[in-house]
Assembly symmetry: none
């Protein structure tokens, strides 16, 4: 019984946390970390300012939690879709597709995310985030390495750097789309990027 009781408490707590983080995402996305105020976040969450401090110890903690939540979601979804894809090419395409879609569905998070992870100021985020960041690149790296071994990707390419470049290409495309600079459909952009990339990396000259 105490277990269930505790669970109930936790459910409420988790619910409040989610509310706050979603509100925070919106506000941080529009104003950046320093520009956002706890008051705004609280109001966006429909709570009083003091209440926010019952669930998070500081503004910074809210920020990191929001960042982590979105980040983890992105990584999980990316991995799931890549694992489900049968071939190296399909996995690569899954990476791009997933991320473009995720960005479309989580514009607020992506705005924060890009602001933070394109910053050398990334140094400010703890190791935890650096780890998450690298985790993505390594997942890509593994796929690419596998492609090398299967002979469908040129052996001369350094898989590590390649992973990061693929990552950044996708990132760039996402930014263009979010800024409204791309008039192509999401699928067209995906196709274009994948085609370019695959031509660049494939062993048989495309």
């Amino acid at each position: 019984m105490p277990v269930l009781k505790k669970t109930k408490q936790e459910l409420v707590s988790e619910f409040r946390c989610r509310e706050i983080l979603e509100a925070a995402c919106k506000v941080f996305a529009r104003k950046g970390f320093s520009g956002a105020t706890v008051d705004e976040i609280a109001e966006a969450a429909g709570l009083a300012k003091g209440t926010v401090y019952l669930y998070f110890r500081s503004k910074r903690e809210i920020y990191l939690a929001a960042l982590k939540r979105g980040f983890t979601g992105l990584i999980d979804e990316t991995r799931r879709n890549m694992e489900a894809a049968p071939t190296t090419a399909a996995k690569l395409k899954a990476f791009i597709t997933t991320r473009l879609r995720y960005a479309e569905e989580n514009r607020d998070f992506v705005a924060i995310y890009h602001a933070e992870f394109s910053n050398v100021g990334m140094a400010y985020l703890g190791k935890e985030f650096r780890h998450l960041y690298l985790q993505q690149a390594r997942a890509l790296e593994a796929v690419l390495r596998e492609g090398c071994e299967q002979g469908c990707i040129r052996r001369s390419l350094p898989a590590g750097a390649l992973g990061l470049v693929v990552y950044e290409m996708t990132r760039g495309l996402i930014m263009q789309r979010l800024l409204g600079w791309s008039r192509a459909t999401s699928d067209e952009d995906t196709e274009f990027l994948f085609d370019l990339l695959w031509k660049g990396v494939s062993a048989d000259g495309g």
Copy 2:
């Protein structure tokens, strides 16, 4: 004489401005716009806070001036080197090389620059900066389009999007290097990126 006198005054003024902007670059790079304080900038420049306000009207103005100074330098250098290159391939390589070197030499500026221009918050910067940003991509675009016409680049690729992607790939590589994540030499990274890219875009399958 009065002319020289005036020139001397101007020289001092310009010198102070440069001092302040260089100090500001360092501070903004480490702390971001909101995180930096005018006091820190002044101290980094070896001046009193009030003195900074003799040369710039506000913190924001310092920021924009620092951004613009570095940006203009980057654009000029990139254009110069691209124009000097004879072929499409050489121009593309010049783009990558120039930017990697510039980043190495102006680490502070690049940190601010990347933070700002990967931000959806770019909206905050005036049209002037959006213009500068697009100018770079268009320079690339023109080169790529020329390559298409000369038959060395696949006709099916949309030059506009391609320009932005090349831009972002380079950007990603720079960031990796600045963060110390790349163990390759600058030349090796350039070579790798160019090779990948050229394979991806060239008409003859690499």
Copy 3:
């Protein structure tokens, strides 16, 4: 209940506002607008600086609110007493008496008031205050005009200018009293001023 609760909140809020305005009156009276600091006002009100900004948006707003509060009170009281007086002479005397008493009871306000409304800088105050100021003179004017019609005041006098002069005479007397330059009692001063004035304006040569 919710109504009462809300009322309670409002009461606290109004109480704080009054506290701040009273403190502000004291400080502004001693130091003038620019000379006073928000810190001083806060301290005089027994609050922290930030708290003051919960109730007023700016130093200027505090100033205007303090000015308006005292001004409205003065005008209301003056009008009430003038209306209650039966004859022109009694009304005139009521004007003088009321203002002398009000000044005695609201020394701080009167100090600000006189500083502001003897200033050509009155231009700085909005139309609202100019309106309030003229309103007083016009009330006097109306009484004097009525006196003319009833034949107890000389017809040759311009009621408008007369109103303002009566106003200023009273003002001068108040200032003397506040500065401690008058050794007469309040009643004696009133009597003296009224006598002088009535002699000056009455139709029957006093």
Copy 4:
């Protein structure tokens, strides 16, 4: 010779002082003491900021000197004209006339003057100014007292208070004129005020 040399120096110095004080008058009149900046005063005087500090030790000192200069001029002129007038009535009229004209010719000074001397904050000005202020009222007082003795002014009036009231009535009229609230000519206003006053004070019922 050294005497003449010194005199020459002094002449330059006096000239500079006058320049600065005239400029200061303009600026203080428009912006008040706190609102005015030494930079503005220097610029209005066609000098560099540092130069101003060669002639005055502080902003406050400039202010007091400007106030004193105008004040002394006003008092001297008033006394001269009053002494030249033959009768009590003429002296009274001279008082009013002189001050109205002086105000018209020295609008800047009068703006400062009224701002300062209607302020209970007058306390801030040293005894020197209080002395000057009272000096005026006493000059009036003497004239009025003389009138009493000659039998042209009612004996029942307290000359001291009367002096101050005359002073304030004139002050009020000046303010109205400076604020553009009086449509009468200067002579008409003088006539009106004198008439009112004389009726009020004269022994023979006007």
